[in-house]
Amino acid sequence: MTENYEDMEFFAPGHGMCAGCAAPIIVKWVLKLSGPNTIVVNATGCLEVATTAYPHTSWRIPWLHVAFENSAAAASGVEAALRATGEKANVIVFGGDGGTVDIGLQALSGMVERGHNVLYVLYDNEAYMNTGIQRSSATPWGAWTTTSKVGKANPIGKLRPKKPIARIIAAHNAKYVATANPAIFQDFKKKVQKALSYEGPRFLHVLSSCTTGWRHDPSKTIEILRLAADTGLFPLYEIIDGDIENMRITYHPKKFKPVEEYLKMQGRFRHLLKNPDLVKKLQDDVNAWWEKYGYH
C-alpha cells in the first residue's frame, strides 16, 4: 500500500468487453490500487469470457478462473495456501451479480464465515448479461429483461426488488462491506483503498452499467451511474465489522434528482415511464429507504 501504482495498467487493452462497459473501469482501478502483488480469482461471467479469449489474456497479474458458483471457495483456497507458505499477496475475487448474488452466494457465505483474508468485488450489472440479459436476484424492480418480459399480462417487468447483498454479507460480520459506484469516483477509490487496508473478509458491491442490457448509449455509462447515486436508487454506504446499526452513508446527494431522470436514459425502464403510478411507486420506495436509513 505504500507504493503508488496508479499510473500502471495491470489490465491490458484489446479485451472483448463491449464499448462503454463499466466493468473494466472498476477492474482497472481495483488493480491499480492493489498493485502487482495480487492474485485474482474470477467467477464465470462477461468479465472472464471477454478478457481471456484463448490464446489471449488481458490480465498482467496471476489470474484464476473457476466456475460460476465457486470463485469464493477457490479464493479461500488461494488465501489458505498463501497462509501456509507464509507469503503475502492481495487475493481479490471479481464476480458478476449472477456469480455472486445468485449462484455463488453459498461459497461467498462460507468464505466470509471462515474469515478468509479475501477482497470480494461484485460488479453488479443487474442481470445475466453474458448469456443474454436474463433476470438475476440483483435485477431491480421494474426492469425489463428477457426473462421478466413486459406486456399486457405484466406491465412492470421484474416484480421483485433487488436482493440487499451488501447487508446480507455484512450480517455475516464481514470485516468491511461497502457499496460503491465508479461514477462517484473519489468515494469509490477511497472504499477500494480502505477495503485493501483491512485484514479479513471484505466485500465491495459496485454498480456497473451494461450498455446492451440496460439499453443505453455507450457514451452515457458514467452519466447513468452518477444518476443512480444522485437519485438515491443505489445508496452508497459502508459497514464495518458487521455493525449494521452503525452503517455509514458515505455519499449524500446534494439535491435528490427524481428517479425518472435515471429511468428515462435506459431502454430497460422505458415501459415504466408510460405509467406514472409505477414511477411514483419506485420514487416512494426510494424515499422510504432514505427516510429509514438516511440519517446514518
Partner: protein, 106 residues
C-alpha cells in the same frame, strides 16, 4: 501405438490481448482538442479499455498546446487508436468539452 505429446493451452505472456487491435470496432472517434484540454485526466480515469495513455514525457508536456501556460506542467492524455472502441465515455465526461466525437473514416 505412438503417443504424440503436444503443447497444452499456452498463453505466451500475460496481457497479450494487446495483440487484438480493438480499434477496428470504432464507428465514432474521439479526438482531443489540446487547445482546450486542461489535462484533468478524467478521460484517462474513465476509459474502460484502457486506451487513453498518460504521457509524462517532459518534451510532450511542453510541446503539446494547452489553454494556459501552467497547464503544460501536467501529464498529457493521449488516445491510443489501436484499442479505442469509440464508446464516447471520454467525450461525454470531459468537463471542458475538449473532446470531439467524429465519424470514423477508414
Amino acid at each position: 501405438m505412438e503417443i504424440v505429446y503436444t503443447r497444452g493451452g499456452v498463453i505466451p505472456y500475460p496481457g497479450n490481448s494487446t495483440e487484438n487491435k480493438t480499434g477496428s470496432w470504432r464507428v465514432f472517434k474521439p479526438v482531443i482538442n489540446y487547445e482546450k484540454c486542461i489535462r484533468c485526466m478524467i478521460c484517462w480515469q474513465f476509459c474502460p479499455e484502457p486506451a487513453i495513455l498518460k504521457i509524462k514525457d517532459e518534451d510532450v508536456k511542453k510541446n503539446t498546446p494547452a489553454p494556459k501556460e501552467p497547464i503544460k506542467r501536467l501529464p498529457v492524455p493521449e488516445i491510443d487508436y489501436d484499442y479505442c472502441k469509440g464508446c464516447g465515455i471520454c467525450y461525454n465526461e470531459c468537463p471542458v468539452n475538449a473532446i470531439d466525437f467524429v465519424k470514423e473514416e477508414r
